[in-house]
């Protein structure tokens, strides 16, 4: 919702017109959401199957799950690892990418290798993480870190390598020192790309973490999901999926907001 093109969002019209405007923007997506729930509900009632729950049953089981301290601990466990892995990959990826992007020759040398590594489906590498980091939090966190790190690193390298030459020329004519060049020209010009990268890699880190937990873990949301599969507790699975949705959307919107702010401040 935050990505409206500026041509639509910009004009400061009278409050009433703006209200109409917001309605035009917000109502259609809401209708879609309501319709989706209705379709789910109707198909559940029509199917009348033992395993396919209605939204109400799913929410009820989610509330019941959330009342269970074990489940809450698992959710918090995943959340903690997700935050750590995401922040770690953002910081390490940006810094390494920045460092490499500043030396174009070595960027051209190393980047193809990382593109190749990035094109390998990450999940098949997870056993290697398990072998070396052991079954447990370390391998899960390591895998979520890895899933987000490589794209973040590539984004940082590419954006650093494509700082506008005219800005560099201006710095050269002002005889700007090297650290100041990085601080005042390179960093501001890569910030928008880094913000976009953060928004993308958050989803990747979460996905990586869930996959890792589904494959082998004794705690976490993915573990809860998979345990319910073997018990065929469909309403719990649906409830957990809704919970995952609720967990994923606010950070994404916050990162989207951050991206818009950074882009309007430093971008083009």
């Amino acid at each position: 919702m935050a990505t409206l093109p500026p041509t639509i969002a910009a004009p400061a019209v009278a409050p009433r017109r703006r209200g109409v405007h917001t309605a035009r923007r917000v109502v259609p997506p809401l209708v879609v959401a309501v319709l989706a729930v209705v379709i789910w509900w109707v198909s559940a009632v029509v199917a009348d199957s033992l395993i396919f729950p209605t939204p109400l049953e799913a929410m009820r089981s989610l509330v019941a799950d959330l009342g269970n301290p074990d489940f809450r601990a698992n959710v918090l466990d995943s959340l903690r690892i997700l935050v750590l892995a995401f922040l770690g990959s953002t910081i390490v990826g940006s810094l390494l990418g920045l460092a490499l992007g500043l030396t174009p020759f070595w960027a051209r040398t190393v980047v193809p290798i990382f593109y190749a590594i990035n094109s390998i489906p990450k999940i098949v590498l997870y056993p290697i993480f398990l072998s070396f980091l052991g079954i447990g939090e370390l391998s899960r966190a390591g895998f979520a870190f890895y899933a987000a790190f490589i794209p973040m690193f590539l984004v940082a390298v590419e954006s650093t390598a494509s700082v506008q030459r005219i800005h560099l020329k201006m710095a050269a004519s002002l005889q700007v020192s090297w650290p100041r060049l990085v601080r005042q020209i390179v960093v501001p010009s890569v910030l928008p790309s880094l913000a976009t990268g953060m928004r993308m890699t958050f989803g990747l880190a979460f996905l990586g973490l869930l996959l890792a937990e589904m494959f082998s873990a004794s705690s976490g949301i993915g573990y809860e999901l998979l345990r319910n599969v073997s018990l065929i507790r469909m309403e719990n699975i649906m409830g957990t999926v809704v919970l995952i949705l609720v967990m994923a959307l606010p950070p994404t919107m916050a990162l989207q907001w951050l991206e818009n702010r950074v882009t309007s401040k430093y971008g083009g």
């Binding site: 051209r108 390998i120 989803g203 649906m238 999926v241 959307l249």
Partner: protein
């Protein structure tokens, strides 16, 4: 330090990147780094690490070659996985471009669905996989459906960008020439959006590959992903690494293959 810097008036960050460093061009160093990394892994595996963790690179390679001549592996694991990838890729490409066309054509639909398309990859789609397995069993269907859904978003997003990128002047030209809807689509809209669609299709293929392998890896009883996970479970480390090597080769061949094939349609690159 000052003498070397004074020797050129142009600061280092403005000079073009050198063609070679220490007598080697960039691709030469790429090869050197790759070979050094492989040799390091090989030495570590031979002399330092536990044989339950890693096997030497040469062993991985020969096990992979042996697997590729094994009919059971080729049919049950490799063939099946490639088949699902192709199905998911084709389905997601067709539905993705079609959905983007609908969004472009009907503004109300665009307003209704655009926010969801924007957060498409924020929600880990694999959370849905357990539901699919319960609904459709552990066969091919849930994997193909999930992978189609997973690859759909990136195709639709890129195609939508392409359709919306048609410059107004070309649209006006179309109106002046009184093109029919089909003629407009055929000779303006599609060619104009093609570079973006191509980008979407390339990404779609890699998303399909990721999704198929991940699904097989977690909850399937067959396929290449399952082969790797079962090898891990049964401590068959050589097979596991060989499977990973095969997957890496497939992913690389597919990525570069589709780029080479589709870039010819990308008129902005010419």
């Amino acid at each position: 330090m000052s003498t070397t810097e004074r020797s050129s008036v142009v600061p280092g960050y403005l000079r073009p990147a050198p063609a070679t460093s220490l007598g080697l061009p960039a691709w030469g160093w790429t090869v050197v780094i790759l070979v050094a990394a492989l040799v390091a892994v090989d030495i570590a595996a031979r002399f330092f690490a536990s044989p339950l963790d890693i096997v030497p690179v040469s062993d991985m390679f020969f096990t992979a070659l042996r697997l590729l001549t094994d009919t059971d592996f080729l049919v049950d694991a490799l063939g099946r996985t490639l088949g699902i990838i192709v199905v998911a890729f084709v389905l997601s490409s067709v539905t993705g471009v079609a959905a983007a066309y609908v969004l472009w054509r009907f503004e109300l639909w665009d307003r209704a669905f655009q926010p969801y398309l924007n957060v498409y990859y924020a929600v880990p789609t694999f959370a849905l996989y357990p539901i699919m397995v319960v609904l459709f069993g552990a066969g091919v269907a849930p994997i193909a459906i999930l992978s189609t859904i997973f690859a759909f978003g990136v195709v639709a997003l890129n195609a939508r960008t392409g359709f919306n990128a048609v410059s107004p002047i070309v649209t006006k030209l179309g109106t002046t020439l009184m093109l029919s809807r089909w003629q407009y689509f055929r000779s303006i809209l599609l060619p104009y959006a093609l570079p973006n669609i191509v980008t979407g299709l390339k990404l779609g293929l890699s998303y399909a590959i990721i999704s198929v392998l991940a699904s097989e890896f977690i909850l399937s009883t067959q396929g290449l992903g399952h082969f790797i996970s079962i090898a891990y479970d049964s401590f068959d480390i050589a097979d596991m690494y060989a499977g990973i090597l095969v997957v890496a080769a497939i992913a690389l061949i597919a990525t570069f293959g589709i780029s080479a094939a589709l870039n010819r349609f990308d008129w902005r690159r010419r």
